[in-house]
Symmetry: D2
Subunit: 396 residues, 4 copies
Amino acid sequence: MSKERNIVVTTTTGQYIDELPVELVERKGIGHPDSLCDGIAERISVEYSKWCRENLGVILHHNFDKVQLVAGEADVTYGRGQMITPIRIQIAGRGLPTYQGKMVPMDTIAIEAARKHLQETLRYLDPVKHVVIDSYAGRGVEELQYTVNHNVANDTSFGVSHWPRSVLEHAVYETAQYINFDLIEQFPIGEDVKVMGARRGKDIVLTVAMPLIGPEIADATEYTELCHAAEQAIQVYAQELSAYDVKVDVNTADDVENDAVYLTLTGTSAEHGDDGSVGRGNRVNGVIAPFRSASLEAAAGKNPVTHVGKLYNLLAMEASQAIVAQVPEVRAATVYILSQIGHPLDEPLVATASIDTQNGHVHPKVEGAVTEVLDAQLGSIDELREKILRQELPVC
Amino acid sequence: MSKERNIVVTTTTGQYIDELPVELVERKGIGHPDSLCDGIAERISVEYSKWCRENLGVILHHNFDKVQLVAGEADVTYGRGQMITPIRIQIAGRGLPTYQGKMVPMDTIAIEAARKHLQETLRYLDPVKHVVIDSYAGRGVEELQYTVNHNVANDTSFGVSHWPRSVLEHAVYETAQYINFDLIEQFPIGEDVKVMGARRGKDIVLTVAMPLIGPEIADATEYTELCHAAEQAIQVYAQELSAYDVKVDVNTADDVENDAVYLTLTGTSAEHGDDGSVGRGNRVNGVIAPFRSASLEAAAGKNPVTHVGKLYNLLAMEASQAIVAQVPEVRAATVYILSQIGHPLDEPLVATASIDTQNGHVHPKVEGAVTEVLDAQLGSIDELREKILRQELPVC
Amino acid sequence: MSKERNIVVTTTTGQYIDELPVELVERKGIGHPDSLCDGIAERISVEYSKWCRENLGVILHHNFDKVQLVAGEADVTYGRGQMITPIRIQIAGRGLPTYQGKMVPMDTIAIEAARKHLQETLRYLDPVKHVVIDSYAGRGVEELQYTVNHNVANDTSFGVSHWPRSVLEHAVYETAQYINFDLIEQFPIGEDVKVMGARRGKDIVLTVAMPLIGPEIADATEYTELCHAAEQAIQVYAQELSAYDVKVDVNTADDVENDAVYLTLTGTSAEHGDDGSVGRGNRVNGVIAPFRSASLEAAAGKNPVTHVGKLYNLLAMEASQAIVAQVPEVRAATVYILSQIGHPLDEPLVATASIDTQNGHVHPKVEGAVTEVLDAQLGSIDELREKILRQELPVC
Amino acid sequence: MSKERNIVVTTTTGQYIDELPVELVERKGIGHPDSLCDGIAERISVEYSKWCRENLGVILHHNFDKVQLVAGEADVTYGRGQMITPIRIQIAGRGLPTYQGKMVPMDTIAIEAARKHLQETLRYLDPVKHVVIDSYAGRGVEELQYTVNHNVANDTSFGVSHWPRSVLEHAVYETAQYINFDLIEQFPIGEDVKVMGARRGKDIVLTVAMPLIGPEIADATEYTELCHAAEQAIQVYAQELSAYDVKVDVNTADDVENDAVYLTLTGTSAEHGDDGSVGRGNRVNGVIAPFRSASLEAAAGKNPVTHVGKLYNLLAMEASQAIVAQVPEVRAATVYILSQIGHPLDEPLVATASIDTQNGHVHPKVEGAVTEVLDAQLGSIDELREKILRQELPVC
C-alpha cells in the first residue's frame, strides 16, 4: 500500500441486528413519490454526465440533488379514471451552463432525463399527458465552477453501509422488488408500493400498501379478490425468504364498503395527494433501517466525480459486500469512510471496517484480508464511477 | 399504568459514543438553505394549525413537509451587492381547503408563514425583494381528509433520540448557535453557518463555513482581519465547551488573493448557487450525527396532531432528556418509540429506553424509575403538541 | 322578420381603401409567437367545448383567452442546433371545474390542446422536448358559473369586419399563407413568417421576415442562395396577386458576413428571444390593418356560446362575405354588430352594414337585399358555433 | 425643414365622429386586470431605463410588453373577506442581462417595479400578501442586443391617434377617471372600474361596473344604498360633461337578493376570476373606440428609445393635441406616422395629419401651420422620451 488509506479494522460490538428484540424496516417502491424524485435526480446526473463526456470530453461539476414532486389531482374509480391536474416535477440543481465557449443545455437535459425516468419506471403513467416537468437549474457558486476532473474530495463528509441485510431488511427489500418487478406482470397494480416490516423476535409482519389500477378493475368485488390474491402470492413469496414466521397484510387501510380503496390511474399516489422529494426515501442499500447507521446525505443526483456524499456511500456498500464475499470468516461488515476535503478521494481521513465474525473476535489474518479488500475497493473508485454512469448501482 | 404502553428498558451495549476512536458531527446553521426549508415548513404547519383553531375550533389534517428552495443569483463584492435573480421558494404540501363550508386560505397562510420565517431568521435578507415565494399546496388524499382530532397514529412509524449530546455533538451544536446568535452581533456575518466537527481520540477539529456580508466590508484586508478575529472568538468559545483539545478553522476554502472569498449580500448561500429542501439537514436534536441512530423522517411541516414521524421523534428527545434529568444513575439514554397504525398515540407498539449507567448494568429500581419517566412522557403528548404550536421545540 | 334585429344599411363614406395614398398591412404567420398563443387559446376552447359536450351534454362557460409564451433559449448555427432552455407556455383562463358532481379536467385538456396545436402547426418543433406547458386555469367569477346554454349576450360589446380585403391586405395575407403552406415544402424554412406590406399609390413593398432551419443549411453560401431563391419564388407569386407593382424583400435585417442571420432550430423565434401573447396579432380577418375599423377584442379562446367578443367578430366577417357574394351591386361591405347584454344574441342593439356600391349610392332594392342577407346571418348563429367547433373559422 | 419628414396634410372625409348615428366606447379603469398588466409593463420599462441610466449611463434595449395576470381566489362577503389563493403576475420580457461586464438585475427590477405599480394603484390590495410576482425575463435575440442609443426605428411600424375625444369618448374617459380618483375618496369602492358608453344620436348610456369593498360594507341594505348614492353622484358628474342626454347605470348585473353582488376584498376582479394581459385594454388615448383608427401595438412596456410601436403612438397623440391647440381653424386632427426601419425616428416614411376644419376644407395657410406643428413635434422626440421616463404620458 503506497497510498495513505488509513484503514482500520474493528470488531463489531453490541447485539447482532437479527438478535435485537424489535426491528423496523421500510422500503418505498420505485413508484413512490420520494423514490421517483431520487430516480429522476440520479438520471439527470447520469444524462448530464454523458452529454458532457460526449460533447466536451469531460464531466462538468454538477449537483442535481434537489427535485420536488407536487402531487396532481386525479379522478379515479372502478372502470375509469382521468387526470384532472397534472403532477408537477420541479427540478432545481446546479451545473455549468457554458464550458470553453460551448453552451450546455442543462434544462433540456434535465427535463428529458426526468421524462425518461418516468417512462421507464411507471407503466400506467404517461409522462407527457400526466406530468408537467419544469427545470429551475442554474449556475453553481463561483468556487465550484471549475471542471470536475481531479480526484479530490469536495467536502468533509462521510459514507456508511453494511452487508448483508438483516433478515427483516432482506424480507422487506425482496418483497418490494418482487411486487415491483414480478407481481406487476400478473395483477393490475401500480409501482408505488410501500413495504413496512416490523419484527418482534422471529415474527415478522409485512404491511404492504399497493395501488391498484382503477380503469382495469370492474368493481369492489374484483378489487377485493385481487387484493386477496395478491396478498396470497406475496405471502408465499415472503415466507420463503427466511425461516422466520412472516405475515403479510395488503392495503390494511381499505374500507371497501365505503369506497375508501387504493385505486389509482397511473400507479402512483403522486397523482393525487402525495408530494415527493429527493433524499427522503431509501438509502443506497435499498431500505430505511432506523436501527442502523446511515448517512443522511442523498446520493441521488450528485456528481459522480468528486461528491463524497455519493461516492463514499456507494463505495461503503460495495466494500462491505466485497469483504463478506471474499473473506469467509466474516459474516457481516459495516464500512465507514470519512473524507478529507482537498485530499485525494482514495486517501480518506479514515476507512473503518467493523466486522462480525462467527466466533466474535478478529484474527490478524482476517484483519489483513479485510484490509486488503477495502484497500482494493478504495483503489477502484474509477470503476465505481463507470458503474454509476452505466446505472448499475441503484441509489435508492 | 392502565394504558398499554409496552415500555422496555435495556442496557446500552457497545462503546460509549465519546470513546469511539473517530466521530463526525455536523450542524447546518439557521440560515443554511436546508435549514431555511425546514424552518419554513414547520412555520407553515404552526400558522395553519393556529388559523384552524382560531377560525374552525379544530386543527385540520395537513402535511407541509415539502418545501424546495431554488437558489437565486447575486452579484456581490467588497462594499456592494445586488440581487440579480431572486431566490425561489416552492411550497408543496397538503391540507384541507374547505371545512364545514368554510374556506381555508391554505396558499395565503403558507406564503405568509414562509415570509415571516425568513423575516425573523435572516437579518440581511429582505423577504420581499430578494425572494419569490409560491405555494402549490393542495388537497390531500381522500382517506386522510377527515378532521385530525383523534389521538391515533396515522402510520406505522418510528421515533428515536438520545441525550445527552456527545462531547463532539455538544461542541458542534453550541458553536453553531454561538455564531448564529452571539457572534453575529459583533461581526458582519450571515446566518448560513455550517460547522463540521471531526474528532480523533480527544482532538476535535471544528471546520466553520461562515458567509460575510459584502456591502459591510471594505476590502480583502478587512475581510481577512474579520475572519481572523471571528476565528479567534470562536476558538475561545469552543475550547471552553469541553476538556478536549479543539482547533477551529474558519472559511478554509477561501483564496483571498484570487477573490474566492465567502461574501454574500443576504447572509445565505441560497442567494447564489445553493438549493435547499426539507428533511436534508439537522435532526430534531439539532445535529447530523451519522454514528447515531436517527430517524430519516422529516419532522418539519408535519401536522402535530397525529403524525408519528413528527411526534415520536420529538417525544423521544423529550423523554431521553427527562430520564437523564430525573434518574441520577443514568448518564445517557436513547429512546425508541414505534407506533401502531390505528392505535392511540400514547399506546405504542413498543417504547424502548436504552440506558447507559455509570457502572454498566441496570438495577431494577433504576429500571422502574426509567419506566415511570417514559410512561409519564407518553402520557403528556397533549402538552408536547402545545409546545410544538408555541414553537418551543426546534425541529432542526 | 319577427325578431328585433335592428338592422341598418348605410353607404360607406370617405375614400375607398385602395385609393388611400398610403396603406400599411401586416400578417403574422402561423408560427409567430403571438399567433401560436392565439392558436393555442382557440384550440383549448375547442377541446374544452368538445369534452363538455361528449361528457356532460352541454358546453360549459369558459374563457381561455389568456395564454403567454415565454421565449426559450436556443443555440443554433449552420448545420446544427440545440435547445438550451425550453419555451414556456403559461395558460391562464377560466372554466367550470365541476358540473353536476362530475369533475372537468380543465388543466389536462388545456395542456393537451396546446400541445396538439403546436404539433400540428410547427414541423420542426418538438412540442414535448422543446416546450414546457403549464396551466393555471381556475374557476371563473361566481356570477358566470352557470351553464352556458342560453342564447344571450354576456356583455355589451361589439364586432366588426369587412370584405373583400384591400389589394394590399390580399397581397399580404396570401403571401404569408403561400409561404406557410406551399413554400415550406420546397425550402427549409420555419412557420414564423412575418409579412409587412406598405403601399404608396400602386407600389407595394412586401417585407418578409422568415426563419431558416439551421441544422438543414450547410453554411453562409447556402443560406444566401436559399434566401435568394425563396425571395424570387415569393416575388413571382406575389406579383400575380394584383395588377399593382410588387417588390419583395426577404430577411432585410440580415448581415451574412457577421453571422447575423435568421436561423432557428424549431422554425419560430419563440425559441430565442421572442415572447408571445393572445390578442396581439392578426384580427379574425387574418391581418392587422391599422387603417380599418377593428375590434380590439381577442376572439381566440373565448367561449363560442355566449361570448359576443368572439361571435360578433366572426359573424361580421361571415356576413360581409355573404353580402358581397349574394348582392352583386355591392363591391365591399363592412359589418358592425353591437350587443345588448342580457338580450338574445340574434337580437343585437344594432347591426349596421356599411356598403360600397359601384356607383356610390344605395338603391332601396339593394338595401333590402343586404338587410335580408344580414338577417339570415344573424339567424344562423347556431351554425356559426358549429363551424367554430369544427375549427373551420380561423380566429387569427 | 432640413430633415426628410415627409409630412402630408389632408382633409378628413366621411362623417364627423359625433354625427355617426351609433357609437360605442369603453374604458377599463386603472384597477382592471388588463390595465394593471399595462401599468406594470410600463413601470418595468421605466424602472429598467432609470436603472440603466444611473448605473450604466445609457438605456439598454428592452421589451417588457408581455405580462400576464392569473386571477386569484378570494372569499368575500359583507363585513369580511380573505384571500384564498394569491393573484399571480407572470412577467415575460427581454433585456440585456449584462453590459460591459456589469450585471443588470433584470428580474429584481421587474418584480420590484410591478410591486410598486400595484402599491401605488390599488389602495385595498396588499401587493405582498395578495400577490405572487415572478419574472421570466431573459436575453433578447442576438441582433437586438446592442445598446439602444441611436435614434433609429427598430421596425416598420405605425402610430395613430386623434384629438379631441368625441363627446362619448370624453364622457366615458372622464367618468372613469372621476370614479378612480374622486369618488373613491367618498365611497368604499375599488379601482377596477369599467365604463361602457353607448350613444344613439344624442342619447348616451354609461354602464358602469364598479367593485365595492366587502369588509367595509355591513349588509345588502348598505350595499344597495351605496350603489344608489354612487350612481347619483356619477349621474350628476357625467351629465355636466356634455349637452347630450346621459343615463348612468351602476352594477346592472347585480342580483342583490341572491347575493350576486359585486363585492371584492382588494378592489379588483383580478382577485377572483378575471385574468389580465398587456395590450388588451385602453389605447394610448385612454379609451377603446372601435369606430376609430387605432394601433393594435401595445405601447406599455416597450423601450422608449427606438420602439416605433410605442413612440409613434404617443407622438401621434401629442401631435394631434398640439395641432388642435395651436391652429385655431382645426377642430379635430388625426395623426398617422409610419416608420422606415433603419431610418432616423424623426424621418418617418410618411406623417399624415388628417384634419377637420370648421368649414370643411383646408386653406394653404392652415396646411402650413399644421405642417409646422407636426414638424416641431417630430423634432422633439427626445423630449417625448423624457416625459415617458417621468411617467407623464399614460400609456393606457
